[in-house]
């Protein structure tokens, strides 16, 4: 944890945050209610890159163990769960989201009023974010003796081949059948299913459109929303994507930020430097971000939050919604090549008018982190911007030493000042 004697900034929080808390509560309460006799609804545990619109169109409630990992991490409560998983033989080198969830699963304890996540009826993992989720979901399937579906999305280094799209599309068709069977329902007639799917895809399209508008509003000086706002406001786009509640919430956030921009109101008092964050948040140490904010260094963009704006479905997709999903779910940030990632990073740095970049080298997340050294070097050498690489972990605080990190942050701030 960061040293308490260091002054931290009191950010201007969003009024929408109050509703966000309600959304989170409602989501998880809904998941527990789904297991009760009179409000029963099938529950699927899904990865953050899973084609959730198919499940929603089938009436299945998706639950996100990764989000649960982030929740546990932000409560600084992950370590005991990780240790339980390690005692069962899962290496400490494995992803801490996975260890947190496995520990919770094995002990039957959790951070939602002491409970673990509700038992799944179906497990769906998409390899587009990493190969770890495939293995993690296999562990979960063995534990619960639960049907498991793996969406295999081949690496899209230099774009997609027609064979890749066909392969992924075929699996999405298979998912409709597998998911229906897992929840003991007949597979819906294709026309009816596609109609329902298009409705859900349209809600995803609206939500991601609003999310992109929000990111664009952050280009203003001072920025109306910081990394703290965005990391917490990520919840609906991850877990409620494809629902009306998600659209309604982001409309509210968008309007609030637009008003802030109109009034020239910044999220970070005294904004002097504009920074970009790469990789997942360090959930247990938001003080690190507050420390930077207190020195006028505001995060105006995060590749992690930006990544959720990529699902660009359009009404045109009606012709082949599964084909559109196959393409979109194959081209997400962690499934594309380093060259494309660099291009997107540079575009983002320019669009958000960033003065520097902070790379969280996260030992749990290899697909995100491996390649960062090359990206950081490119930002420094090709764009001439100061960069900082922080070695940490998103959930497991044992992998993080705040003292050395703070020293490096101070040096980074000096560099930013000298370049100003």
């Amino acid at each position: 944890m960061t040293q308490p004697e260091r002054p931290l900034a009191a950010d201007l929080r969003l009024a929408a945050d109050r509703d966000l808390k309600g959304l989170i509560l409602k989501h998880y309460l809904g998941a527990y209610r789904a297991k009760r006799p009179f409000t029963r609804r099938p529950v699927a545990w899904v990865t953050s890159g899973a084609p959730v619109e198919i499940l929603l169109a089938l009436g299945i409630l998706p639950i996100y163990p990764e989000n649960y990992g982030a929740l546990v991490g932000s409560r600084k409560a992950a370590v005991p769960y990780c240790e339980s998983a390690e005692q069962a033989g899962y290496s400490q080198d494995l992803c801490s989201y996975a260890r947190t969830n496995i520990g919770s699963m094995l002990t039957g304890r959790g951070e939602l009023a002491g409970r673990p996540l509700p038992r799944p009826d179906l497990l769906v993992a998409a390899k587009n974010i990493c190969d770890v989720v495939v293995k993690w979901w296999e562990v979960t399937a063995r534990h619960f003796d639960c049907p498991l579906f793996i969406l295999d999305t081949p690496f899209a280094a230099d774009g997609l081949t027609l064979d890749q799209v066909a392969y992924v599309r075929g699996q999405l068709e298979e998912l409709v059948v597998v998911a229906s069977k897992a929840v003991r329902r007949p597979a819906p007639p294709p026309a009816a299913f596609e109609r329902d799917l298009m409705k859900v895809l349209d809600l995803t399209r609206q939500a991601t459109g609003l999310w992109q508008e929000i990111q664009t509003l952050r280009q203003a000086s001072p920025t109306p929303a910081s990394a703290l706002d965005m990391f917490t406001n990520l919840f609906p786009i991850v877990t409620l994507r494809g629902t009306q509640a998600c659209v309604d919430y982001y409309r509210q956030v968008r309007d609030e930020l637009a008003e802030r921009v109109r009034r020239g109101e910044g999220a970070v008092p005294g904004e002097r430097f504009r920074l970009l964050w790469d990789n997942i948040a360090i959930w247990y140490d938001f003080d690190l971000v507050r420390y930077l904010h207190a020195r006028g260094a505001a995060f105006v963009g995060e590749t992690y939050t930006d990544a959720w704006g990529i699902y660009q479905f359009s009404p045109e997709d009606e012709k082949d919604p599964l084909g559109a999903m196959a393409r979109q779910y194959s081209l997400i940030l962690l499934n594309i090549g380093l060259g494309t990632r660099k291009e997107r990073l540079f575009n983002m740095l320019r669009a958000q008018r960033a003065d520097g970049a902070v790379f969280h080298s996260c030992r749990s997340c290899k697909t995100y982190s491996l390649g960062q050294y090359e990206l950081a070097r490119a930002v420094r050498d090709e764009l001439g911007l100061p960069v900082l690489v922080l070695e940490a972990d998103m959930t497991d605080s044992r992998a993080y030493a705040s003292g050395p990190a703070m020293t490096r942050i101070d040096a980074f701030l000096e560099l930013l000042t000298s370049k100003a």
Binding site: G89, V139, D163, Q171, E173, K366, Q372, Y373
Partner: protein
């Protein structure tokens, strides 16, 4: 014979044939039959053991030492004499090593990524795998010195590789029946050599070697046979009653972990290793008629931990343990290898449920830290000798 194979495995690039171009490849899912049919000598690229250098500025330390050392070798000019390198989708760390090499490789270097499915079954898997095999064949035809992969060339290459595997299969049986003649560490060194030496020569050597070892096993003595004698001499002399072990893990950069096990008083009679039986144990009854069938055959082989579903490998390991009557298992876990680390607890439980104790050792930079590991191994072997692991 044996020495030549072992030497080739230890230094594959020094044993390249001079009459044709060589092509490096990284994963055992790359069909070397296609590389052969395209006119290249396939060289399985391992990684030099020991600390890494330039790769550490490109990949964090939590990428496994195999990925870092592989990249290190490439950055140090190791691929200079090769026509290119074929990577395959294996895991996130090797994907990152490939990406880093793409950025740093000299201009014009041939780098192919065989974008294999992670799933081994399901609709479209075979078709997609076949399309990737075709993409590889087409890419190789465009490399200098390469040629079109014609059906007859592919059939010839397939027969050659099948011959190699059959001979290794015969040697595997000797390893199991007479580990005093053919220790497990030597078997793996030979299998490594079979992925380095010119394949026709390797096939000839392996066939002769298999004849020799089978003869020696029949006679009951190593003394009459040159190669068998040499292999037996490699095994440290130990009192009788050496427990029979199975080892499980990923790619081993050296045989050091295996020798350490043997030095601790056990015999390695079966393996679930990337270089070993997992790669060799193909169904060879029929000859694939083309690229699509060959690709499908790779999908049906004993899977690596990075493939889904995991159960065929778990079943395979338990079956191996039964067939070879092993008393226990040693897991050689490459540090930071996610697929194997996730599988370990379940596979351990499966083996232990059959009454076979297991031991976990971590491998990094090609070896097991010998001091503490030796003590743990010796205690494990003692436990097995005391009857703690009879199935």
């Amino acid at each position: 014979m044996l020495e030549r194979l072992v030497a080739a495995g230890a230094d594959p690039l020094a044993h390249r044939p001079s009459d044709r171009p060589s092509l490096g490849y990284v994963c055992s899912y790359v069909p070397e039959e296609v590389i052969l049919a395209a006119g290249f000598h396939p060289v399985r690229l391992g990684a030099r053991p020991g600390p890494t250098g330039p790769a550490d500025s490109l990949l964090q330390s939590f990428a496994c030492s195999f990925a870092r050392a592989l990249l290190d070798g490439l950055l140090s000019g190791r691929a200079a004499g090769l026509s290119g390198v074929v990577f395959a989708y294996t895991c996130d760390s090797l994907r990152a090593a490939m990406e880093a090499w793409k950025v740093r490789a000299p201009a014009g270097s041939f780098i192919h990524f065989l974008n294999l499915p992670a799933r081994l079954e399901g609709p479209g898997v075979d078709t997609y795998a076949a399309s990737e095999a075709r993409r590889l064949a087409d890419a190789l035809a465009g490399v200098k010195g390469g040629r079109q992969v014609m059906a007859e060339r592919l059939a010839e290459a397939t027969r050659l590789v099948a011959d190699l595997r059959r001979s290794l299969g015969r040697l595997d049986r000797v390893r199991s029946s007479r580990p005093d003649l053919l220790p497990g560490s030597v078997f793996i060194a030979v299998a490594r050599g079979a992925q380095a030496l010119e394949r026709s020569e390797a096939a000839r050597l392996l066939a002769t070697l298999a004849d020799e070892f089978e003869a020696a096993a029949a006679v009951g003595s190593a003394a009459a046979v040159g190669s068998a004698g040499a292999a037996a001499a490699a095994r440290p002399s130990q009192p009788a009653g050496r427990p029979r072990l199975l080892v499980s893990g990923g790619y081993l950069e050296t045989e050091q972990p295996l020798r350490l096990i043997e030095e601790s008083g056990a015999d390695i009679v079966a393996d679930d290793l990337c270089l070993g039986w997992r790669r060799i144990a193909f169904a060879e009854d029929d000859e694939p008629s083309g690229l699509a069938e060959l690709a499908a055959r790779y999908l049906r082989r004993v899977p690596c931990a990075a493939k889904h579903p995991p159960d065929p490998r778990f079943d395979f390991v338990v079956r191996l343990a039964d067939e070879h009557q092993v008393a226990g298992g040693v897991f050689l876990l490459q540090k930071f290898c996610d697929p194997h680390a996730f599988d370990y607890p379940a596979l351990r439980d499966r083996l232990e449920a059959t009454g076979r104790p297991t031991l976990l050792l971590e491998v990094e930079q090609g070896s097991v830290a010998s001091g503490q590991a030796r003590t743990r191994l010796e205690a494990f072997v003692e436990r097995l000798r005391a009857g703690g692991g009879s199935p």
